[in-house]
Symmetry: C2
Subunit: 447 residues, 2 copies
């Protein structure tokens, strides 16, 4: 190590080096190892001092073997907590995932006055407030760009670039697995189950895809975005969330006829002082909107600011290399802070306000509705009459037999703006009649 430092002082303007310890060497961890080793030259140049990976911990010896093969000088450990105890580590990178152990690990690192970089959205969404307070108390940085939208620098853009602006709304495709599945359904007319299987085979969905396809993962990320953009202290469980499992290929086809694509959206909008519109669900997005053209495993975030106007970012939302780039960007940022020699550059989040999340029943939106009805005269008139009784007016409508069983027809329509509670009430009234043959599909329009 002595000799490494000497070498370093010959090549770089600064005398010190920054030493990184990595906890968890799965897919993303391996990407971080590769990035730090392969790009050591440019990272050193940009920081002004070498950034050196000194230790890696993982329970799986096979993963450690892969690290050893790349650089035999890296200390290999089976206990991540050992990383937090090492004097030769300045920055701890937490990539073990989960909540309980990761929480203890991050606390141990911060208590040992080490800066932390994490990609753990679940941990921060559930325990973020306490962890940021602990980081501040210990004079440490806690960075998490990789926790939201992989390679897209949404955290840095909200926290730094738009720090002088008042953010009105953030809309994003922030779950690549869901977007891959819906894209595949759109491009191939595949059913959800088949598209999911294809996504798993292509490595875009995990063996257990529940957290992705139910919107849970996007909810974690949205809670973080709401904290940064609006100072909202929101738990993921409080966010109205729907997954993409109920989307049918027919919905995608009807949406296209109406000029829309169906995308897995997360929406955060500041309605008034104390009310936020937060939600995760599949949505019809106009084909004229950039979000409609974000295909496959790409992620995207559209931010609307009072002064900045519309701002749009897209890139790979998952995968080892893109996510590792975000981790590396955080490490470099902390390294620069650290080498500046002063105390940590604390991020003051917007003051946390008790903001209410608008109940989904109070949402004012346009809706896509698809009814399965008996194929007999008078049904359409009766159905539109029932909607009209609830004050819901129809903007566009298509009726056909495609995909329906004999004796049934499909009616797909777009409503004008309506209160969601009223729409739901009306659907219940319609379904209590003898017109419908199956539950009605409802998908919100976001435009």
């Amino acid at each position: 190590m002595e000799s490494a430092t000497v070498t370093a002082s010959r090549r770089y303007p600064l005398e010190r080096e920054i030493r990184v310890g990595l906890c968890g060497c799965g897919v993303i961890g391996e990407g971080v190892v590769t990035t730090l080793l392969r790009h050591a030259d440019i990272i050193g140049e940009r920081v002004g001092a070498p950034v050196r990976l000194v230790a890696v911990a993982d329970k799986d010896p096979a993963r450690l073997d892969i690290v050893r093969a790349q650089d035999p000088n890296i200390a290999l450990l089976d206990d991540a907590f050992e990383i937090t105890k090492r004097d030769d580590v300045d920055i701890v990178v937490e990539l073990i995932g989960g909540i309980e152990v990761a929480d203890r690990l991050v606390r141990a690192a911060l208590d040992a006055k080490k800066h932390v970089v994490t990609a753990n959205k679940a941990l921060l969404a559930e325990r973020g407030a306490a962890l940021f307070a602990l980081a501040k108390a210990n004079g440490c940085d806690l960075y998490f760009e990789a926790a939201v939208a992989g390679a897209i620098p949404v955290i840095r853009v909200i926290r730094e670039s738009l720090a002088g602006d008042r953010i009105r709304s953030v809309r994003g495709i922030i779950n690549g697995t869901s977007n891959y599945i819906l894209s595949r359904m759109a491009n191939e007319g595949a059913a959800f189950a088949n598209a999911l299987k294809a996504a798993q085979e292509a490595g875009f969905a995990e063996a257990d895809p529940t957290l992705d396809v139910t919107g849970g993962d996007a909810g974690h990320k949205l809670a973080l975005i709401a904290a940064l953009a609006f100072g909202a202290r929101v738990l993921p469980s409080e966010i109205p969330t729907e997954g993409i499992e109920e989307v049918d290929p027919r919905d995608i086809q009807y949406a296209r006829k109406f000029g829309y694509a169906i995308r897995p959206l997360a929406v955060a909008e500041h309605l008034e002082d104390d009310v936020l519109d937060l939600r995760v669900h599949p949505a019809l997005v106009p084909l004229t909107d950039s979000l409609a053209h974000v295909d496959g495993a790409l992620n995207a975030v559209a931010i609307q600011g009072e002064m900045v106007g519309p701002s749009f970012l897209s890139g790979l939302g998952a995968g080892a290399s893109p996510t590792a780039t975000s981790v590396a960007g955080d490490i470099i940022d902390i390294a620069r802070n650290s080498l500046a020699g002063g105390p940590v550059r604390t991020w003051h989040l917007p003051s946390e306000r008790d903001q209410k999340i608008q109940p989904i029943a109070d949402l004012s939106s346009r809706y896509y509705l698809r009814f399965s009805v008996r194929d007999q005269s008078g049904v359409l008139a009766a159905l539109s009459g029932k909607l009209g009784d609830s004050g819901i007016s129809i903007d566009q409508l298509v009726q056909d037999h495609e995909g329906g069983d004999a004796g049934t027809a499909s009616i797909a329509l777009l409503t004008h703006h309506a209160r969601e509670g009223d729409v739901r009430d009306s659907l219940r009234a319609i379904e209590s009649t003898h017109f419908t043959t199956a539950p009605t599909q409802l998908i919100r329009i976001v435009e």
Copy 2:
């Protein structure tokens, strides 16, 4: 001032305040004043201390009157150099534009140990190296997000988010005026002169639009991007640059038939160790590319990194409020650095290498060519024969009379990849025959 600080210490976690002096109060300057005053609360929250505009300088008393009307406590000066001499200014914002006076002003500020924020791309493209060295020597920050692509955080993303990656290419629509004009030509079939006039009337082009429509403005920005992304020390005059003046509505129509849009592009690509492909020109972009859908006055930047893959950013490229947001983001970043109490967080640019710009004659590209030819038999065969003699093969071709004079025809075609020097030679040979009735149009394809 005493009382302001006391108030501040009640409201904010930090005891100090950060004081800003603004030089130049034109359109963007006024936007900065508005942002700092209107968003003082959220900026203070995010920085952890108040950020206060203490002085504004402008030669035009009418502009100062507008500032006075918003806040009578701001010192108003007619000499920008007075701002650099004030003890109560921590950050000098340079928005006077031009090169010579701005150069002296920024030097005066840095010599007085004041941090500087500038939106002056011409200044940085021409004198950046010396100014960054001076900032470093004086322990000061020199920030310039607003100099490139208005509200799009391209500088911060390259410098911070992608600092751990090796950037392969940056392609951008970084001149909003040119993009507005080409969009207008595309949407209305307008000729260049009419679209320019409409852009001027709509406030998207200046009375003298030369720097915008000739590509000069984009060249300044591209020189900055090349410095950040590749460590290239490049003067704007060294970048092969073509404006959009020669684009004809017919070219836009033909391009659309072939599946392309015409956009004003700036391209920076790292070819090999010491060779860069840098150029500014209108280009055919496939309609499947996000850049093709960036309409009107929007700017966009597509970055390709070795690890990060494709990254895409778009937003408003000009205008008071969007650009002011970028200036405010820089002020906030410096304020945070400054309040951290340590020395400045120096940015180490990639080490400057003597990199060569590939001569445009050596470019390997596909090309759109539009020939005006005599409407007689044998011309097409002769023309494609001539191209073939130079090793240029045709991918797609359309021949028609539309828009041509009687007795002449148009032949529009896309070539396969060819060396530009060979294409130019071949065009010269073709134009020396009696086939053509007007100079041939050549537009590069970027995909």
